[in-house]
Symmetry: C2
Subunit: 734 residues, 2 copies
Amino acid sequence: MQADSLWTVSEDQFEPKRQNHAETVFTTGNGYLSTRGAMEEGYPGERRTTFISGVFDDIPISLTELANAPDWLELHLLLSGEVFRLDQGEILGFQRVLDLRTGLLRRSVRWRSPMGRTTRLEFERFSSLADPHLNILRVRVTPEDYAGTLEVHAGLNGDVDNEGFKHWEWLGQAAHNGSLWLHTRTRKTHIELGQAARLTLSGPAPIQGDGWDVHNHPTLVRRTALQPGQTAYVEKVVAVYTSRDVPQPLNAARAGLDPAVLPSPAWDHLWEPHAKAWEKEWAACDVTIEGDDEAQIAVRFSLYQLLIAAPRRDERVSIGAKTLSGYGYRGHAFWDTEIFMLPFFTYTRPEIARNLLSYRYHNLDGARKKARNNGFKGAQFPWESASTGEEVTPTWVPYFADPTKMVRIWTGDIEIHISAMICFALCQYWTATGDDEFMLQRGAEVFFEVARFWASRAEWNKSAERYEFRDVIGPDENHDHVDNNAFTNAFARWTLRTARRLLDWVEQRDPALAADYRARLQLDEAELTLWQKVAEKIYFAYDPSTGLVEQFEGYFQRRDIDLAAMEPRTESVQGLLGIEGANLVQVIKQPDVLMLAYLLPELFDERSLHANYDYYTARTDHTYGSSLGPSIQAIMACRLGRQEDAYEHFIRAARADLRDVRGNAGDGIHGASAGGVWQAVVFGFGGLRVNEKGWTVQPHLPAHWKRLTYRFKFRGQEQVIDLPGKGPFSSEEA
Amino acid sequence: MQADSLWTVSEDQFEPKRQNHAETVFTTGNGYLSTRGAMEEGYPGERRTTFISGVFDDIPISLTELANAPDWLELHLLLSGEVFRLDQGEILGFQRVLDLRTGLLRRSVRWRSPMGRTTRLEFERFSSLADPHLNILRVRVTPEDYAGTLEVHAGLNGDVDNEGFKHWEWLGQAAHNGSLWLHTRTRKTHIELGQAARLTLSGPAPIQGDGWDVHNHPTLVRRTALQPGQTAYVEKVVAVYTSRDVPQPLNAARAGLDPAVLPSPAWDHLWEPHAKAWEKEWAACDVTIEGDDEAQIAVRFSLYQLLIAAPRRDERVSIGAKTLSGYGYRGHAFWDTEIFMLPFFTYTRPEIARNLLSYRYHNLDGARKKARNNGFKGAQFPWESASTGEEVTPTWVPYFADPTKMVRIWTGDIEIHISAMICFALCQYWTATGDDEFMLQRGAEVFFEVARFWASRAEWNKSAERYEFRDVIGPDENHDHVDNNAFTNAFARWTLRTARRLLDWVEQRDPALAADYRARLQLDEAELTLWQKVAEKIYFAYDPSTGLVEQFEGYFQRRDIDLAAMEPRTESVQGLLGIEGANLVQVIKQPDVLMLAYLLPELFDERSLHANYDYYTARTDHTYGSSLGPSIQAIMACRLGRQEDAYEHFIRAARADLRDVRGNAGDGIHGASAGGVWQAVVFGFGGLRVNEKGWTVQPHLPAHWKRLTYRFKFRGQEQVIDLPGKGPFSSEEA
């Protein structure tokens, strides 16, 4: 393979049946918005979607979702009167290439129309990383064997929906020769959206123009004539602003296309700063792998998908479980962000990590409200989170096999480890960056409030003389309504202890601020004593004789079934046994206890690590369980020296979306898997470990990898690790 | 008032705040489709809706709903470049008039534009009753004080939704000079819709034209020039077919506009047969009231709304609780059809009643499935019914005060009297028409299957030695999960006994058919014995000492609260006390026991009638309870000689939608109330009673009514009753 091919993802057939998968893979964006890889001219069954980060609107059942924005992409071509459509006529050549290095999506087509006319078309598009409000596409059209007319229709289409649900109401529009704009707002949240577009057609012959002022779908039309071999150039540039960004989004969008600031054609003008911005991104985070092209491309693809979903200028949004690339989970954020995606940003783009953590800080009031409503103190962060920090997990959803029945979803009620995960991510960020100011001003408040939550949620078991967390769901969602999930209990303890140390640190660094926290958050001695008492007496089911940690109370008594005997299968064990059936057996959706060992390694000695790895790995639904599992499994395998296992799990994570191994990539990128791929490479194979004292590297490269390089920032210093080439392997030694 | 004004409903102000109410009132239609009275040019907050009878599509929670069809109404006018919009500029004159006699909606406007130009506009529209696939609107535009241009945009707009939910996917379209069409289909049920339109503009100056082929919103454009005082004529005619009607709906729609069959302009050509068809309708059913103009108009308005919702050519659809006029109850049919609306059709348009009853016959398999799923035999008809006869009552709905919570809806599970109501309506139809053939071929099968259901649903109470129906909801939905609802038990008994007599009759009339039924429906001796045994031993809580029937077991022990003490109020007692609170008190949503006395008068003697009337009337939420109550209450008051009470209840029903007395008329016409108004006039004040032997009239006119005439058919003979003029007062005497 050539170097460039290690930077691209491509397809060379038009396959309507897998178009939704391809749309996810070929998503373009810049963290402000992203657009799935639907084709300009549109096809039946497509999920033609542009999401703008933070633009949520109400919906039944799921409460709120990212609203698919009015379509900026639309472009119809009439070639001598025949509509350009790949599902009619004959495709003589087709290739789509996504350049991960620059976020450019290119499509090359040779097409013979039903009337037998052959045309070459080159489509390209990108959303500017330098100015995130500007989006551009262009097409070069060349008739091969006929002289004829080219007519271009380019609209701003307000007739869009989220799988049937409409979120936008019309406010105004125009379509006349110089101007195309659409002004809309979300139906319930009343976020205004201003979009303005410019359409340019140039070629050897004169150009005619027209404006079609159709309600909610203003459209510009351009016409010209072409001789065989002549090329026409079509360019559509679209400016997008919302009332989340500026008070007058329509004015801002129209001003963004002012010829004084944006020449026509605009492509070159936009391309240069865009490409430079991408160069800077990759310089900070690229990973190179020699000897494994699939892994190389998959890692870059994962980082690309994280980078185009990351808020660079906005600290009131997070990244949804499916990034900004699909309808799955409605754009809601889970712990996937803090535990799976955030480390990549913390170590390569800490300013983005800071935005993501600030999102949780700004949503403290929603989390306080949730705690209060449930009868607890402090802050209980929502299992699913959108704009406000209030819980947006649906409580009941239609049962997939019988829509007249509803299924109760419990995660929003009792999957409570999320709050500790946010604290963990804060600590990780603090450790990596040394950003004391952030911890003082924002992180500490989150931490204290979460500690208060844990202390109030703990239940004292008199007879056993211990604190317990009953009726919870741990990371392994195959088992709900369990008591004393080891992961949850351990992280409650960790939060309480760390919060106490953090308060001492704040006292030292800024006594006035500490006094303010104490007063405002009621951190009196009774509260702090309770933290200590609960932390000391939390139940943690470690068996010194076997070294095993019981995932939850009674797990060992669940039925042990032979997972291998269920192979081959094409769905999850939960899908095969049903929700209740899966609850009765030991099979887990993801390795709870190993996840704990990954995040809090100090809790496990070497013997215990091996024992738990062996026990739980055999009981995990690796193939169709949680997409969060494989990358963590890979890292733990690395740490235990099980290289082959490690690679198997890693490559499963790496293929999640590129090969659609779970059959649901059409719903959007598995963001946690993408973040997990980076962690598997850097923390697993790359062997990076960081703590308060510094960092070390203990590489565990797969046998066939010839070289691995990665980079990260530690306390503001960039580190480049080149393996097996020499380099500093520990900051302590350096 | 002049005679014509007794045939019209009008408004003389443009009031955006009550536009949804006005849209319901000004609905036009022909039973095939109906269009809410939205204005051609469109306004924010409107519910712009065209429903086509039987065109359902899937939706979450409510399972299925009538799909708002692509908009045929759209018409934008540009007056010298200024968009005609009543919410800009100045309204110098405004009137809307719905002519109930012909279903014609007219709007007269004088409008001064923001630039100060004054224009007169006359809009008219109707959907042809003679050819239900054709819809037409026209506008006459006259500039008063300026010379300028008129530009007309007329589209077929696929960008429509049901309160945010989209049901249509695009299949094809065209917009060029001679032709405008749109081809779509419902997303899940795949019902294809073909719409074709023609736009005509004529005036003194030359006309220019254009076609805007914008995706999913093809639009024709016409332009001309006008001098002050000159009038331009705009006409848009739209043909509509679905794949429920013909195999190729698009071809049918396009053929419907063929100039060879439909000249241009088409208005006069369509008007004549349309007006004739309406004349025929009213000749069969008109009611005249002298001395009470409000009542006169309200009755005609009620009949108009029933007539434009009634299927004339389709026996696979029913009429939804909100007719075809709004989103309320999603177009689902309830017992409202059989008990409240159907009598009007049975007695004036029996062929429509036959279609509506056939709908239930065709849906027997769905009802059988429901019975089977619930562990019963025979047919259990759904509480809410759409296309298939399967239950479409939502099981859980979001709680209005907190959408993160869901409320369980039990009516689909346990409000079981609906099946008996269908049998009752069959009998009423049979009695009125003498249509033995229908009863033999269709009605009997429904009857037998429902009887089988009741026999299998009955529970034997050993200690009390009686059959019971436990855990039901009666017509009064304020009380759920009750045992032995008197209405339900009495109708179970009635169905079982009547079914047995019906079987005997079928044996006599057509022994081979009876044998077929016996074999096919397992009507063996054991089954028939069970019917008899259950009927004999069904518990019916009649207290001979008081004459009272207890609405359900334990009702008399519920708390008796002082309804008067809650006045004045603006919401229902259930709304004030909550679902659980209302369950604990005696206040009822509608008078269960009186409804029983109305439908099965033979169960009550005079003393018992008075006792129950007094007891239950005092405990009924007449104002904000069920809209089904007032008309029945009025009839029972008539029968007991309580004329003033009767009129109070009657006029409450008559005002339901015209005055929006419950504040929800924007969701659609209260179909049961409209049908109840006819029953209150004919069976109440008009005193008509019909049984197998014939009919009698015992009038009870309100004191201020000078004259009442009504007409009905009995065994194919039209009867005109003229009160207090003389006439035959009984078929037996005649």
